[in-house]
């Protein structure tokens, strides 16, 4: 299996006095189909690491390869293109456009990556059916429950068929029952679709569902065996 993510001594330092090293010499390889949970308390550097993994930020030292591409070499526009086609994001706060329908929200994930309009509709509908919301296409996010909103966000993230699904505290705003159903969905996406999943969380229950667990403390990664 080829590596989706390769971190080699990745360090992210924020300028200031004193400078803050949010991530220190991180080494990590994630293969296709892996289900990795990144666990750590707040302030441990997990958000910074997620930003680097999601090509939203670049390491100040070390190399990060996504699908073999050195992200540090890429321009801002190239990283945007890479995000649009290879990475699906699921955020704690959902980031759904409140005034657009569920369908339109999912289609937003395909607007920028050269998917033809007609294909966009088909794929978005398929993605929504995949997450169990095929009957809610014309609803707006306001009319949905928290769990349903997160399902819309997941549909938006998987619609472009990304190589990596990055989830940042995906269940942070959800109750435990809804959390379980979202985690079941993750399992299903992984086993049925072979999706590579990285989930950042501070919730033990979430991390137990993953296949590999990486702890992050003060910017240092440690994989539990």
């Amino acid at each position: 299996m080829s590596a989706v993510v390769e971190l080699d001594g990745v360090t992210r330092t924020f300028a200031g006095s004193p400078p803050v090293e949010a991530v220190k010499g991180a080494d990590l390889t994630v293969a296709e189909g892996d289900y990795v949970t990144l666990v750590g308390p707040s302030g441990s550097g997990k958000s910074t690491l997620l930003h680097i993994l999601g090509c939203l930020d670049t390491p100040t030292a070390g190399t990060y390869r996504l699908l073999g591409l050195d992200v540090g070499d890429l321009s801002d526009g190239q990283r945007a293109a890479l995000r649009g086609s290879e990475i699906g994001f699921v955020f704690q706060a959902f980031y759904l456009l409140p005034y657009r329908t569920v369908m339109e929200n999912v289609m937003t994930g395909l607007v920028y990556n050269r998917t033809p309009r007609r294909v966009r509709k088909e794929r978005s509908r398929a993605a929504l059916e995949r997450v169990g919301l095929g009957h809610r296409l014309d609803f707006t996010p306001r009319q949905l429950s928290g769990g349903e909103r997160q399902r819309v966000a997941i549909a938006r993230a998987i619609a472009p068929e990304p190589s990596l699904l990055l989830c940042d505290e995906p269940t942070g705003n959800l109750d435990s029952k809804t959390t379980d159903s979202i985690l079941d969905l993750f399992d299903e996406l992984r086993t049925a679709d072979g999706l590579t999943l990285m989930v950042i969380t501070h919730d033990e229950r979430v991390s137990r569902r993953g296949e590999r667990r990486v702890d992050i403390t003060d910017g240092v990664l440690a994989e539990a065996s």
Binding site: H51, G54, L56, D57, G68, L69, D70, D73, L74, D76, G77, Q78, A80, A81, L82, R83, G84, S85, F89, F91, A93, F94, Y95, L96, L97, P98, Y99, R100, E104, T108, G109, V111, Y112, N113, R114, R117, R156, P160
Partner: protein, 414 residues
């Protein structure tokens, strides 16, 4: 390095761009409407100004009556008027002015007019002094050539005008203005009643009803030039009134001084009606400069409104910007979306404003019973002007939006 070429640049088709921008505008319809209002007012003011100036200018020209447009007055230039001891009236206008002018092509009628110096003698209609009532009046006595009555378009109530015969013979006849006739208590001329200017007796042969262009005749006693010369020693005509064919006023205005005084036409002053075209453009430029400034100011206010609202909306939509960046939008896509939104608001404002401006023009014209006049380009270009205003107003906010770092943008939630 070859790996990098594998990355296909992200792209936002124009259709998608418009879709996203329209959706962004419709997300807050109330605010969008208020934002557009600024441009609506500005464009409406501009269109209405241009149209009303044109309409009013056209209207003034239309109302500009044929009378005024065809009448010319030639008089002596007073500053160069030569007066020397022993010469009472030296004038550059000859007694045969009427003959000289009626020969010109385009002249309908011409006649001289001068104030007769009667030495302050009072005028009466009865030869006796009535101790109980006023019977003597101070009145202007005017000397005229026969053609004057036609030249100033006068109408007779009764009797007749004097003619060349009266003039040449110096007959003691007079035509009364309606005001003079009323004061002298004369209303019939079939008996040729006599009036007395001092000791001079004149027979009244006609009474005027109205005079179109020379009101000084209304209260005066008008006598032939020959009579004035022989009885009162009038030296020279003071002015010439000319009525021309429509459109000939300018030409005659140029030719009349030469015809009257070939030696030195510059001694004469010609009063011609202002040229219609000059009147129109004069009015237009007067109205335009004032209101164009007002329209420009309201458009500027509209632009600032759009800039302000777009900036606020950028700050409010930071989360949306972050999300769009996360799903592949490049900086230029973010910038173009906000630019299209602001330009579209300007464009819509321009359309509504142009329509409102046209309605204002039509309403004002209907109210004043004018014919609305408007250049076709104005309402067509107005929406474009609105779009440009919106585009310019959106430059700074969209630049701000595009420079947001995705990590920063995704921090706040939505």
């Amino acid at each position: 390095m070859s790996d990098r070429r594998r990355i296909i640049r992200s792209r936002l088709s124009f259709r998608d761009l418009v879709t996203e921008a329209v959706a962004g505008m419709l997300a807050r319809p109330g605010r969008t409407v208020l934002t557009i209002l600024g441009t609506v007012l500005g464009v409406a003011a501009l269109v209405a100004t241009l149209g009303l100036a044109k309409t009013a200018g056209n209207q003034i020209v239309t109302r500009f009556d044929a009378l005024a447009a065809t009448s010319i007055t030639v008089s002596n230039r007073t500053d160069s008027f030569f007066r020397s001891p022993g010469l009472n009236d030296v004038s550059a206008i000859p007694w045969d002015a009427e003959d000289r002018l009626t020969r010109l092509n385009g002249v309908v009628a011409a006649g001289t007019l001068s104030l007769v110096d009667t030495g302050g003698q009072l005028v009466s209609s009865v030869p006796i002094n009535d101790p109980l009532g006023q019977s003597e009046f101070a009145m202007d006595v005017l000397a005229a050539s026969p053609g004057l009555f036609d030249a100033v378009i006068s109408e007779l109530r009764t009797g007749r005008f004097f003619d060349t015969g009266h003039d040449e013979r110096g007959d003691p006849v007079a035509v009364l203005g309606p005001g003079a006739a009323a004061r002298l208590n004369i209303n019939r001329v079939d008996q040729q009643p006599a009036i007395f200017v001092g000791d001079t007796t004149l027979a009244v042969i006609g009474i005027l009803e109205d005079v179109a262009t020379e009101p000084s005749l209304l209260d005066a006693i008008i006598i032939p030039n020959g009579t004035a010369r022989s009885l009162f020693g009038t030296g020279a005509p003071a002015e010439v009134h000319i009525r021309t064919e429509i459109g000939a006023a300018y030409l005659i205005g140029d030719q009349a001084p030469i015809a009257l005084n070939p030696n030195d036409p510059s001694l004469l002053r010609v009063q011609v009606p202002p040229e219609p075209r000059a009147v129109r453009s004069g009015v237009e430029s007067d109205v335009n400069t004032l209101f164009l400034v007002l329209g420009g100011v309201s458009l500027l206010v509209g632009a600032i409104g759009i800039a302000n609202v777009t900036l606020v909306s950028v700050l409010e939509r930071v989360g949306e910007i972050g999300l769009r960046r996360a799903v592949g939008a490049a900086r230029r896509h973010i910038a173009s979306q906000f630019l299209v939104e602001s330009a579209a608001m300007g464009f819509i404002g321009g359309i509504i404003g142009a329509s409102a401006g046209v309605l204002v023009i039509v309403a004002v014209s209907a109210n004043k019973q004018w014919t609305p006049v408007l250049d076709v380009q104005v309402p067509l270009l107005a929406p474009l002007a609105g779009a440009v205003v919106g585009l310019v107003a959106g430059l700074y906010p969209s630049w701000r939006a595009s420079t947001l770092e995705p990590v920063e943008a995704l921090r706040g939630g939505m």
